[in-house]
Structure formats: C-alpha cells, structure tokens
C-alpha cells in the first residue's frame, strides 16, 4: 500500500453543505455529493446542480470512495462509483463500475458483476470489424475479439467524481467482444437510433478479467471479495491449454501402450502345446465328454489360451471345459458358447462367430489334459471343430481396457471444458433459445 492520498481540493455541496472532495482535479466534470446524492457540475464555479435523485436505496461500494491502491505498479484513487443496468428478457442485470484516477496515468475503471472483476482502460484506437466462427468480431493489435452481447445500459446510481457529465438515467448502447481474459467494449452514446441532428459517439475500452483477491490485494477494502458466481463473459477458462496438453500426454501414453503390446507379443512364448481336430454329432448315442492327450505347460505360472474353430452355420454349440493337472488333480472349469447365425432378410445380417478364444489365468507349469464336453441342438447337423491350446499369450483385452482408462481423464477434462464454455455463452446473445440463466454453475 502506498502513502495516503493527498488532501483533496475541498468544495461544499450547494444543496446540503456537505464537503465534496475533488480528487480528479480539473479532469472531473461531474461530482455527486455522497450525502445528498446531488449531481453537481464541477466545471461550474458555483457547483451547479445538474440532477438530484432520491427515493432509492443507497448502494455501499465494496471499495469506499477515496481508497488509494496500487494497480500495475501505479497508485490509483477510487474517485467515483456507478451502477449500470441492462434489461435482458425484461430482467434487470446490474453491475458496478469504480472510477480510478492517477494524475499522471489518467483514468481506469474496475467493474464488478457477481464477484467477477475487470480492470478496464480506455482505448484510443478503433478496432476493425471482422467475423469469427459465424459471429461478429473485431480485431485490434492482432487479437480477434468475438461478439458476446449487445444491450442498452442505463446508469442507475452514481456517487463521487466522473470525467464526464454523468447522470442517473444516462443510456448507452454497449457491445461486448471477448477474447478471454480480455474484453473489448464499445459504448455508443446516445444509443441508436440517435435523435435527429445528434452525433453519436463511440468509446472503446479494454477490460482484463482479474480475480477479486487481486483487487483486494491492490486496494485492501474492508471485508473479503464476494465469491464469483457463475461464469463471466471473459473469465479465463481454468481448462484453457490443459485439455490439449492432456490429450498430448494421453497420445504419448497410448504410444507407450502400443510399444508395450509389441514388446510383450515378442517376449511372450505363445507356444502351441496342443492342437487336434474333432467332430461332434448331437445324435450320436453314449457319453459326449472326452479327454485330450496330455500336454506339457512350461515356464513361470502364466495363462493358457484355448481356441475353438468350428464349421457352425446357423447353429450353436456349447463346450464345457476342464483343464486338469495330471499330477495334482487341480482343475480349471469353464464353459464357452459358440454360435454363428446369418440370413438375408433386411439386406443380410449375421450374428456371432464360428470360433472362440478364451484365456485361463495363471496356470502353473506341469502336465495337463483337457476334459471337453460339447453340446448342440439335437435337431441340427454335426459339427467339425479344432481345439488349439497355447501357453503364455498376450491378453489383448487388458490393452483395450488400459487404452480406455487412459482416455478417461482427458475425456472428463474435455467435457468440463465444454461445460465451462457452454456456461459462458449461455449468458450471451448466442445462448440457445429458452435456456435458463446458468448462474448455478459455480466458479472453479
């Protein structure tokens, strides 16, 4: 905090006699008595009363008038305060503007709406009009600002000093263009259609979104900054840049996953330990189950893959398997169904497959055989099938699951980012018709 402000030039209100400080020096054109809210012409030696407004509730600015703070390294005094209101669907939306003054740097403004703050400075150059993404846009210093909202703003409360002839009831057409965290605003006075013979004036200003905590740090007003509610037009997205970088990280991890898959495919033995052709007739009498010859599984405890290839056609078969250790009697019991149906109705269709692949987990080394019990619809023809057993094969389903799990965080972040932008544009002229106010979306 810098040293206290110098004592302001003193005047007295011609209406109530209260002291009216003038901190804006000769730049002040209008001063509003904080006691009786008389709007006075400070350029007039007799402080001519321009307007008196009564009968409405007084607004206490969050930053008291006269507060000195340091913004961008320069001291500024808060010399004026106004409330402005726009009507959207007949609902009033009010925001507050603070006039800041530094005798060497001039004026700048702080605006506050629902806890969202903007640091605003006037812009001398007029930006060029263009379009972006089907929306009206303006360009200035290489930056494109997309149109967000147009409205007629009315001044509904004034207090302190202003470098223009400020009055309650003043109207201006405002157009906001955004490139978060920046907002370029045009104020056209009088709002179109201008009265005959009246020249309209357009004033551009550039705002930058700043957190309330930074305002409190700069001016140290009493209390705490009000919490930001909803998503503001030029509020920078907390997801900006993070979504892209997370997708890049995801891509890198997927490439590592792919390489890991290739590495494991080469490293795992995938040894074929058994292969045999069989046939099965559902009408054959007697016991349908049988056992295979013994095969040896070597190496560390690993998986065992059992492949079935059948010649099923519009038919199904069910296989009850037991992989049995010849020495210990330990068995792994499971069943697999193979079904393959197809037809020509509706342009041709097919369901299922005539083969199957299943992986038995973590089988220790040893000598094993399979007990196989096939089953089919008794009214169907016989089937030929081949059983193939392989040791230590890659389980590709885990790779698919890993790939999906790797994509979950970036997908989640992308959805959050889309939700944030949707909440932003919900408040604009481009909100979907019939949409509600999205102030319930909490600031992240």
């Amino acid at each position: 905090m810098s040293a206290g402000p110098p004592p302001p030039r003193g005047l007295n209100c011609p209406t109530c006699g209260a002291a009216v400080p003038l901190r804006g020096l000769e730049h002040t054109q209008t001063v509003v008595c904080v006691q009786c809210l008389s709007v006075l012409d400070s350029t007039d030696p007799n402080l001519r009363v321009l307007q008196q407004f009564h009968g409405r509730e007084r607004i206490l600015p969050l930053i008291p008038l006269g507060t000195r703070g340091k913004l961008h390294g320069d001291p500024y005094d808060v010399i004026g305060f106004q409330e402005r209101t726009i009507l959207v669907d007949d609902l009033p939306y009010c925001w507050h503007e603070y006039v800041l003054f530094n005798p060497f740097k001039g004026f700048r403004y702080l605006t506050q709406y629902n806890g969202h703050w903007n640091d605003v400075k006037p812009v001398k150059a007029a930006p060029g009009f263009t379009s972006a993404g089907g929306k009206k846009a303006v360009q200035m210093l290489g930056q494109t600002y997309v149109h967000f909202q147009s409205a007629v703003a009315e001044t509904t409360y004034v207090m302190g000093e202003f470098p223009w002839q400020a009055r309650v009831g003043d109207q201006a057409a405002v157009q906001d263009f955004i490139a978060p965290p920046l907002m370029l605003s045009a104020e056209i006075t009088p709002p179109p259609p201008a009265p005959a013979g009246a020249a309209s004036e357009t004033v551009w200003s550039l705002g930058e979104y700043i957190p309330g905590a930074r305002v409190w740090e700069a001016f140290r007003p009493p209390g705490a900054p009000p919490p930001a509610v909803g998503t503001f037009a030029n509020q920078p997205s907390p997801y900006q840049g993070r979504v892209r970088s997370m997708w890049v990280a995801c891509l890198v991890l997927l490439l590592v996953l792919l390489n890991l898959g290739l590495l494991l495919s080469n490293w795992m033995s995938q040894e074929e330990v058994f292969s045999q052709q069989y046939s099965f007739s559902p009408l054959a009498p007697g016991e349908t189950s049988f056992v295979t010859s013994v095969f040896e599984l070597k190496g560390r405890p690993s998986n065992v893959e059992i492949e079935i290839h059948t010649d099923l056609s519009n038919n199904w078969a069910y296989f009850q398997f037991a992989l049995i250790n010849e020495a210990t009697g330990q068995a792994w019991d499971f069943g697999r169904e193979v079904s393959y149906f197809f037809g020509r109705s509706d342009g041709g269709w097919s369901e299922g497959r005539s083969g199957d692949r299943s992986i038995i987990p973590t089988v220790p080394a040893g000598r094993y055989y399979l007990r196989v019990e096939p089953e089919m619809d008794k009214g169907k023809p016989s089937m030929n099938y081949r059983l193939r057993v392989r040791r230590d094969v890659p389980a590709y389903s885990f790779f698919l699951i890993a790939a999906l799990l790797l994509a979950v965080p970036p997908v989640f972040l992308s959805l959050r980012s889309i939700g944030f932008e949707r909440a932003r544009w919900q408040e604009s002229d481009y909100a979907p018709s019939g949409s509600d106010d999205s102030d319930d979306e909490e600031d992240d």
Partner: protein
Amino acid sequence: MTQHPFYLAYGVLLLGLLGVAEYRGWSLLGVNEVKDVPRTVRDNPGAYRSHFRSFPRYIGGK
C-alpha cells in the same frame, strides 16, 4: 506432460499394472478352480461333473 503429473502417474501405474497382468497371466475369464479331481476322469470322462455355472444358453437367430 509435466503439466499433468497426476495423470502421468496414473498412466504409468496403469501401464505397470498391465505389465504385471500380462506377466502373471491374468485373465478376465470366469473360471472355477477345483481341487483333487479324481484320476479316474482320464478313463471315465463322463463321471466328472462340471462345477462351472454357465450363463443362459443362446439359441440364436434373428
């Protein structure tokens, strides 16, 4: 990558878990492990009764 240390850690953990799953030969297949299957199964396969409870059989077709 460095902007997302938690995601990176999550990814490395996933890849590590995948490596362990592949090394240990894990599988998603539902199997019943049965102890002490009698040796007579080799001679009389029909005497063995499966402990596996399968899902309802598909009887197919459109």
